[in-house]
Amino acid sequence: MPHPDRPAPAPDAGRGLARAAEGPDLSVSLGRLRLPNPILVASGTFGYGREMAGLVDLRRLGGVIPKTITPHPRRGNAPWRTVETAAGLLNSIGLDNDGVEAFVAHQLPWLVDCGAPVVVSLAGATAAEFVTLAARLDGLAGIAALELNISCPNVSHGVDLGTDPEACRVVVAGVRAATRLPVLAKLTPNVTDIVAIARAARDGGADGVSLINTLQGMAIDWRRRRPLLGNVVGGLSGPAIKPVALRCVHQVRRAVGLPIVGVGGIMTIDDVMEFLVAGASAVQVGTASFADPTASVRLLDALPAAVAELGAGSVADVVGTLALPAAASGCPAPVAAAPSPVSEAPPHAR
């Protein structure tokens, strides 16, 4: 239903159309982080990048986020580690990884040459571990940014840092002080008020937030009276969670002046556009890469036409253009400090 207060086309819409002929400008900025396009691949759903080299031209991606690394090797959780649910996937991988040193020695050299910006995802059990990891990676060439996974539902402590605003602020501030790299905080939706956590990330000095990690869930085999996941509970991803992710992006966009990377259930170009309109400056493709290994580049192929369809000359012109009904309930009013355009860096990052 069209809203009577839908904003009139921007004065430069004509210019946008003209530019669309030669293709809209796909580049985006999240604070100090500049990306060639807004299509990234999500941590834990793209291996370490190298696995995909034969199937996807990585040079085309807006960014590659390899699987989260921890200070020490972790075997991860016992199988089964994933269970398919209605239009979704439950996982309890448990941050299976070989630790930061193995990553730096064996994965990073290939990654930094892969041609896409590399955003390294980190997780520690404590704020101190996050800081140690960030400091270890700070001097290394070729890393575009860090993403702090303070939201993994599959390890103890992981969620704690992402559900308590003060704990979140402390982690982000510690990392901020330990690195010159742009820092994204990846938040969990398993909280009552995601806006409070996003504010804490902003106050800690984050350059942006990635919204969202998986939603806690479980699956049961009733005949055997057993949980299907080895870890009993896990995190839900895939198309089933897209509405939750969109809501989180929308609320944070309205209430917190911080660039957003949207993630959760993105399968189609329509999904990508919904996240951009809701206020995400970029998106991550996760579970979709399992269902179609080429999903990320397929979405990138479809992006210029979708941006042009809105009469926009650039992806940045689409970000956060959601038209709300006049007296919308259920969404906080935008804070006065909400920056527009969204690419403006938060004061701490300058």
Binding site: H106, S289, D292, P293
Partner: protein
């Protein structure tokens, strides 16, 4: 096991998926061949002409979000039987790849209704396959449930490479599940069957069958002993076959059937506990470092009850 590719951890995993392609291909033929068992033929020359015995592919019904993910199926056959009348069935070109699947859950139930002419999404060939199998004079293939699908090509390859004998010992719950045993016979493989209910072959498990077919070492029939055992089936059955082989000092190679979400190494779903040279174990992705492993390197679960007694319990009929 592809030891060369796994040597050291400088590239800490092999990249067999480098040769894989994502394609949308038509179903050429699709028919029921046994109890809940269907044979699917896809026009897919890239996989048919580029695969190694024991490799698999991921299949998906396009455009659906439920089931959302693809499922792994072993590449059953790329050889077209001489009596195949399809004019495009030129064996030199290997235009088709055949799969054999058991109707089991969401995906296979939906797949059984997809008619010839429709298209499927597929990526492959994937996994290591049996690329490092030693040449032996007598190779034993041991299958449980639908596990025979991984074994036809390796049996045929062994005979081509000069093995004088390949024996298949195949166990199932019921005789009606033993579909397409003639494919193995036509390939020159000796077929021995066992069923739990005695409806076909020996009444008993595949271990009972192995004891019957292969006389104990040192016995009068020692010449019948295989030089190598290759096994695929439900995990508890593979564990039992691994123990049986180890007890006789016969090397055993297994193809694991861990659940998979991507098949290409990006999700860390499909792990199995695998020992390295030092004896320590770690979870390894069976889709990129397997699914084929030396049975001696697999950490088999303790105290598994096999065969399972409930009809709902086993994944494989």
């Amino acid at each position: 096991m592809a030891s060369d590719a796994l040597a050291g951890r400088s590239l800490p995993y092999p990249c067999y998926a480098d040769a894989a392609r994502v394609e949308r291909v038509p179903i050429v033929a699709h028919r029921r061949v046994g109890e809940r068992t269907h044979r699917l033929r896809l026009a897919c020359p890239t996989i048919a002409s580029g695969c190694v015995p024991g490799q698999f592919a991921m299949l998906r019904i396009p455009g659906r979000v439920d089931p959302l993910l693809a499922r792994p199926l072993a590449i059953y056959d790329t050889y077209l039987a001489p009596d195949d009348t399809d004019p495009r069935g030129d064996r030199g070109q290997r235009p088709f790849v055949d799969f054999l699947y058991l109707v089991h859950g969401k995906f296979t139930t939906a797949l059984a209704d997809v008619p010839a002419g429709a298209e499927l999404e597929i990526w492959g060939p994937l996994g290591n396959g049996f690329r490092d199998l030693p040449s032996v004079d007598h190779l034993a293939l041991v299958a449980g449930g639908i596990g025979q699908t991984a074994l036809l090509a390796v049996g045929r390859a062994a005979l081509t490479r000069g093995a004088s004998r390949v024996t298949l010992c195949w166990g199932a719950r019921h005789g009606a599940y033993l579909a397409d045993a003639d494919d193995f016979r036509r390939a020159g493989i000796d077929v021995h069957l066992a069923t739990l209910d005695g409806s076909a072959g020996l009444r008993g498990t595949v271990i009972d069958l192995l004891d019957r077919v292969f006389a104990p070492p040192g016995g009068a029939n020692d010449a019948a002993a295989p030089g190598h055992v290759v096994c695929c089936g439900p995990e508890p059955m593979m564990a039992a076959v691994a123990r049986w082989s180890a007890g006789r000092g016969t090397p055993c190679t297994v193809s694991l059937e861990a659940p998979m979400a991507c098949g290409i190494g990006i999700c860390f779903t499909c792990v199995a506990p695998i020992r390295d040279a030092s004896g320590a174990w770690d979870y390894r992705r069976t889709c990129v470092e397997g699914p084929v492993f030396d049975a001696a390197n697999v950490v088999w679960p303790e105290a598994t009850v096999w065969p399972e007694t409930t009809s709902t319990g086993s994944q494989h009929g």
